[in-house]
Symmetry: D2
Subunit: 234 residues, 4 copies
């Protein structure tokens, strides 16, 4: 299968908004096109930027996800994020249970099921191999295992804790042979992506290394090229 790079814009970096948000999307579509769509690229901007980014990537193959959804039914839920509203805004999927926005187990299950019915993909984050396997039982599209203590450090899990990746793959595959497994936390460059794939996952969840980059294009390109190399066994 194709390697995957998911870019979490986070809820607020100055670079997550406005022109810079669009620029990252433009850079992603350029890389996607240069690599002939052989690396899956997913962008997760803040809610207020979703429509712009959806517009920017329309027709390119690059996907837009929301960063979160709340376990609510449509209606009187002022200021919450129902899945139905995200569909309306044009996303293809949603990140759930990010380490900065954990969900209750029952709510996670409810959201994964409902997202499926609404035609949305789901990317569930987990802090450990065990919770990754636990989440995998609920049949999301992706599971990303991210040791929270490495998030935002610039020290990648592939360097600092490769055993976490190996064990995640092992535990998750015991209970689910289809879910796409990603690596997250501290992913900084192409080498981290290369290692994440070599250790058995299908790609990465990355944030500041791309969003805060002076030249997001180069970082995305470097990561995507390495993802492709690793996947092809080079």
């Amino acid at each position: 299968m194709k390697p995957v790079i998911v870019v979490n814009y986070k809820a607020y970096y100055p670079q997550s908004f406005g022109e810079n948000a669009v620029r990252i999307a433009r850079d992603a579509t350029r890389v996607y096109s240069e690599l002939k769509g052989e690396v899956e690229l997913v962008l997760a901007p803040p809610y207020t930027e979703i429509r712009r980014i959806v517009e920017e990537v329309r027709g390119t193959g690059v996907k837009v996800f929301a960063q979160h959804a709340d376990p609510v039914e449509p209606g009187a839920v002022t200021g919450f994020i129902p899945l139905e509203g995200l569909v309306d805004a044009g996303v293809k999927g949603v990140i759930l249970n990010h380490s900065e926005h954990r969900l209750k187990l029952a709510d996670l299950n409810m959201l994964i099921k409902k997202a499926g019915k609404l035609g949305l993909e789901t990317l569930v984050c987990a802090d450990e191999p065990e919770t990754g396997a636990s989440a995998a039982v609920l049949n999301p599209t992706y599971v990303a295992v991210e040791p929270p203590e490495l998030i935002g450090t610039g020290i990648s899990v592939s360097k600092a804790k490769p055993e976490v990746i190996v064990r995640s793959v092992e535990l998750i595959r015991r209970v689910n042979d289809k879910v796409v497994i990603l690596t997250g936390a501290g992913i900084t460059d192409g080498l981290d992506v290369y290692a994440a794939i070599k250790y058995g996952t299908s790609g990465v969840l990355v944030a500041s290394a791309i969003v805060k980059a002076r030249d997001p294009y180069s970082v995305i390109k470097d990561m995507a090229v390495n993802a492709l190399k690793a996947t092809r066994g080079q």
Copy 2:
């Protein structure tokens, strides 16, 4: 002072999104212009629609608020709503502590203070006159008292519980002589708005009566005209 009508689009009615969301904004700007800006109109769309609505009302005098903000600092807060992100999206203010999205007292204080520094107005909802007065001590721009049992019923507080409005004004004015006081819950038509102002508040917080209306223009116009009449003592 000018009477105020705040339209809460809620997080999800089918009408809260897309073309209909823009239509309500267009109707509001039409009424605003017809009444020469003598009634303050505030629109609170879902997060994903904020930029469109801000664009739509630009230069008209109609204001856009967010429905909520989370008590977080910018940075690693995936899927949350920091005030800084709302500023970037162009809102003029934010609803806080809506009955469907209550906040902790300490967080409410933190958000009101920070919003002030960022140049945003704050509209704090409260369920009872007592909590309205408690919130008023924190110096938000507006306080709206909304008995939760009437929200969404179509039975307005001005008809069912006028004593709640009277008592709200009394308790709030004891502790704050500047905050703008609004009435909410079950507001359906111009008569409800008229009564809300006659009982001593400056306007209303309204949702489904406008958002789900076949002809939002007529409802907004009816409410705004009555608000003006009541304010002028007619």
Copy 3:
């Protein structure tokens, strides 16, 4: 293995406290002794009653669990329930993720691991077969599947939704062959317990049928006798 009956006193029925709380414990120890300990009996009283009940059942074989624990570390956590405090109060285990007190997936994992280190058993509740299997991956001692819509109804899951029990056993056993599986929600009498075991689980989680009974002894005895019959294949 031995059949199991877990009695959730809930956080507040008038009968959950004081002399009646002790009476239920005395009735449970009487049944336990009459059945020569061949049915496992677990009591989960409110926090304030734990020490009394622990005292009452000391030396009898009946176990005391807490109804919940908070995912906190010891120290400055005023008004929360750390596992360490429960150990000090003398419990043998803890219910986690009850339908009335759901936990985040990551916290559930943290609590199960820490409880294990502290020598406490864990009973994790789940609302559906899928979440039951998801929880089972985390290796608690027990998993109880309780459809929330039946809790407190007096309509037992064994009568209304036997397929939920069957599917729970099937999904949970795919991922964990050791965890003890319980049935909950609406359990009213011995027949419900009999059915719960016949459908493949090891016992029940029950609340009002025992706690609010005029004669708790008779209900516990009826349930325990039926549990034993079902387990012995009679």
Copy 4:
């Protein structure tokens, strides 16, 4: 009025439980009796220790409070702390909104009202003078202002930020002339208590300085004697 010293045992220090918990209560009753009840002493142990401590202080004049209550109605609320259960366990009051266990404004109001109906006193914590005044509008028995950054530091608010105490008294008295005002955070010895009263409050909320003390009696005595001196203007 009498000066007040409230001892928060916190949810878990090793000293908060068992024999040591009882010893602190015994020390408090000794001081209370030596000072002929002229200093109000309140003990807030963990939930599991409440009954023991209530038993220990029975008939002495020393009061027992719970550390928190949850905004729930009696019934199906497994693992929560309803006010009704606390009444049953024998407390005279409850701490609400501690900095480590914040409550929503609407819930705080609901709990203060219900506690009043149940005959319980309420002690509401606040992080700043503004939130202290906001809480005071809801008419609790006590308000304690505790800057969270000083809690547990051993640096008392009376030394590090006396202006917080002065401003708290000023803002709170503007909206409520009856509520008893306390000072909290970092209170270490009698001098801190003396200063807290000299700056205009009626006493202190204290935790580790007493609970972790080798000789709790001496610390309580020192604080109580200084409280009395300050109140008598010595």
